[in-house]
């Protein structure tokens, strides 16, 4: 059943074109096309999962391109990592699309939305299926494009349009690194196939450079420090998009990429170390910002950055299973959180948590599922987040770098803190907004419930009770894994400490005076710094280049033409029309000729 895997992305792709071409005529039905397509993909993914042999395999569909004599084939890799991603993407994707039917209902560009989503689904599925970096890059850009289009979905809003562009360009910076990494790998390693990653041998510095360049792509896509700035802005898109692309799937592609090229990183400790450090920085930084954010989606966005950082940290610390496990669980509960947030926004038409409050009674299903998701994120046992986060903490601890471990712990603590803060502000206390909140329709709550189910129980796949099924599935070669009980306790304690702190401080959240922690509130001034460092100079440089082009380069051209014209004018004015001048020229010409010829003749000894 494995070799049907390449059909998985085809269905959403067909759905995309159907919706683009016939969108106008399909109307609301286009949603069913998209949902249907991804449901079929989900079924196929499950079939592939069930048919997966140990270790998986890869197969080649067709030779595609030849670069420098090395063929790049359209190859499919189907192993546990791919299958995990397939399942996550198709299941979460399908649920979110169902949710979107309700959430996007009545939007004038309803069909366009589903077209984009389908395109995204197919790109994302392609991304996880292909067996080499080059093809991955193609789909990598594809998902980036969809992200951009969907962030800017409500392009009438200037902020949305700007955010879409920011998302694409910022990730493109990382992607350019990835491209260069691919080129480097191709030129020194002669292979881009993931299967060959562990056997490529080349000079150490070059390989480290290649690994780092590839990681740069991951940094961009997974919104890691220092390329994280686009993700909070990307929240301008529809919330369902945020859930799908900017929480569950696309942003996780960076982590996927690192996991995919893991042999490359493990072979070069420096590269792995970088991954860990970047992850740690991102995790702590984003978590601290999330503590001060007031926009419900921004909180979740920073949380996403933070969690992705945690995954990176896990991978960088050698915790392959932890990183991938967290990737999977995070996809579900973060999608849940975003959809919950969407449901809330749908009801109250604001995103500011200070303007919410007391929603628990009005929106029971949303609130309960949201809280489940939040607890999972906070890492409270025995929800799914607990298991995966615990795995990461264990790995970091075993890695031995105390700084990284402190970062991981801090992140856990802060995560629990800001999620509690969010829940307290949004769902409890007095209703502070003049809005009539109501529960969302079933088409929106149903996916919430399903996702909550996953958030609750998915973690058990990696628990001792399931004999660490996930770990054995994803990395069978790592042998026996055991739960570090001490770490589990510690992790729970940290989470609880975070929650408790939030409870203690709950009175101060509303009365908090802005500016107390200006550095963090302003997101460490990243936007301002980048604006001053890159955006403005870019504009200024462009203007300067254009002016240079106009004045200097073109000026030279026009100058030459003017010179010729002046010269022409001058030679024209030789023709005075005066007989004497002409006669003089004639006689003078004779004289000069005689002199010149005589002189030359003398010099050359001809006469």
């Amino acid at each position: 059943m494995v070799n049907i895997a390449h059909f998985i992305p085809v269905f959403p792709f067909v759905a995309f074109w159907l919706n683009i071409i016939f969108g106008c005529r399909l109307g609301v039905a286009c949603a069913y096309v998209s949902v249907g397509a991804s449901a079929i993909s989900a079924v196929l993914a499950v079939l592939v999962f069930m048919g997966l042999q140990a270790g998986g395999g890869s197969y080649v569909l067709t030779p595609w391109l030849s670069v420098n004599g090395h063929p790049i084939s359209l190859g499919i890799i189907v192993d546990s990592l791919t299958v995990m991603m397939l399942l996550v993407v198709t299941i979460v994707g399908t649920l979110i699309q169902i949710y979107s039917i309700g959430y996007m209902g009545g939007d004038p560009r309803f069909t366009r939305y589903f077209a984009y989503i389908s395109l995204f689904m197919s790109s994302m599925l392609g991304l996880v299926l292909v067996d080499n970096l080059f093809l991955l890059y193609i789909f990598w850009e594809g998902v980036g494009l969809c992200s951009c289009l969907l962030v800017a979905f409500w392009y009438e809003k200037p902020a949305a349009a700007a955010a879409g562009i920011k998302a694409f360009i910022t990730t493109r910076v990382g992607d350019t690194g990835l491209l260069l990494g691919i080129l480097l790998l191709m030129s020194v390693g002669h292979s881009l196939r993931f299967a060959d990653m562990s056997v490529i041998s080349a000079p150490e510095p070059l390989m480290v450079l290649a690994a780092l360049l590839i990681f740069m792509g991951a940094v961009g896509k997974s919104a890691q420090f220092p390329l994280h700035v686009w993700l909070p802005d990307a929240m301008e898109g529809p919330t369902a998009v945020s859930a799908l692309i900017h929480a569950a799937t696309m942003v996780a592609a960076g982590v996927y990429l690192v996991a995919r090229c893991y042999p490359l990183f493990t072979a070069h400790p420096l590269a792995l170390q970088t991954v860990a450090v970047i992850g740690a920085i991102s995790a702590v930084m984003a978590a601290s910002i999330a503590c001060f954010a007031n926009d419900i989606k921004k909180v979740l966005a920073y949380s996403t950055i933070s969690q992705l950082g945690l995954m990176m940290l896990g991978l960088g610390a050698g915790g392959y299973t932890g990183g991938t496990f967290h990737l999977m669980t995070h996809a579900f509960f973060k999608a849940l959180l975003f959809l919950g947030a969407g449901s809330v926004i749908h009801a109250v038409h604001t995103q500011d948590i200070r303007a919410m409050g007391g929603l628990f009674n009005k929106m029971k299903v949303t609130s309960v599922t949201f809280i489940i998701g939040a607890l999972a994120l906070a890492g409270v046992a025995p929800l799914s987040g607990f298991w995966s986060k615990d795995e990461i903490l264990t790995a970091v601890w075993q890695h031995g770098n105390l700084g990284l471990f402190i970062a991981a712990v801090t992140t856990s603590f802060l995560t629990a803190f800001y999620m509690t803060r969010l829940i307290l502000l949004a769902f409890f206390g007095e209703s502070r907004g003049a809005h009539k909140a109501h529960e969302s329709p079933a088409v929106m709550t149903m996916p919430l419930v399903i996702l909550a189910f996953f958030a609750l129980f998915l973690g058990f796949a990696g628990s001792p009770w399931a004999h660490h099924a996930f770990q054995r599935f994803i990395a069978p070669e790592e042998g026996e894994v055991a739960l570090d009980l001490g770490m589990a306790v510690a992790s729970t304690v940290i989470a609880c400490a975070g929650i408790l702190t939030a409870f203690l401080l709950r009175g101060k959240f509303l009365g908090y005076k802005e500016g107390t922690c200006a550095l963090i509130e302003n997101k460490y001034y990243f936007d301002e710094i980048y604006d001053a460092l890159f955006v403005k100079p870019f504009h200024r440089l462009a203007a300067a280049v254009a002016r240079f082009d106009q004045v200097r380069v073109d000026g030279v051209v026009n100058g030459v033409s003017r010179c010729v014209q002046e010269l022409a004018q001058a030679s024209r004015s030789l023709q005075t029309g005066l007989v004497e001048n002409y006669l003089l020229a004639q006689a003078g010409g004779v004289f000069v000729l005689i002199v010149v010829v005589t002189l030359v003749g003398k010099l050359c000894h001809i006469f």
Binding site: T576, L578, E580
Partner: protein, 102 residues
């Protein structure tokens, strides 16, 4: 006998006088006269050289007759043209022939 060199020098002097006249005279008639002087310089050359260098045939002398004839024709045509210009402009000064320029 007068050496050939003297004739040639005379001719050269005449040539220079003629050329000087051509370049300095502003009057069309004087210009015409100057050109005639150059032609006469040439004629002196022809005749003298014929006599000294190739007395066997009369090539130079014959040519000089042709030159005189043709020069006369040229002068006639020149005078006609000058007159027709004079009729229109009442001037034979070369500086006034200045409609066509640039």
């Amino acid at each position: 006998m007068i050496p050939l060199g003297h004739f040639v020098i005379l001719s050269a002097v005449l040539f220079c006088i003629g050329l000087f006249g051509v370049l300095t005279q502003r009057n069309a008639i004087r210009f015409l006269i100057s050109v005639e002087i150059i032609l006469n310089a040439a004629n002196i050359n022809l005749v003298a050289c014929n006599r000294y260098l190739a007395p066997a045939n009369a090539e130079g002398q014959v040519v000089s007759l042709f030159v005189i004839g043709v020069a006369a024709a040229a002068s006639v045509v020149g005078l006609i043209l000058i007159i027709s210009v004079y009729r229109q402009r009442k001037s034979v000064f070369l500086d006034d022939f200045n409609l066509l320029k640039w």
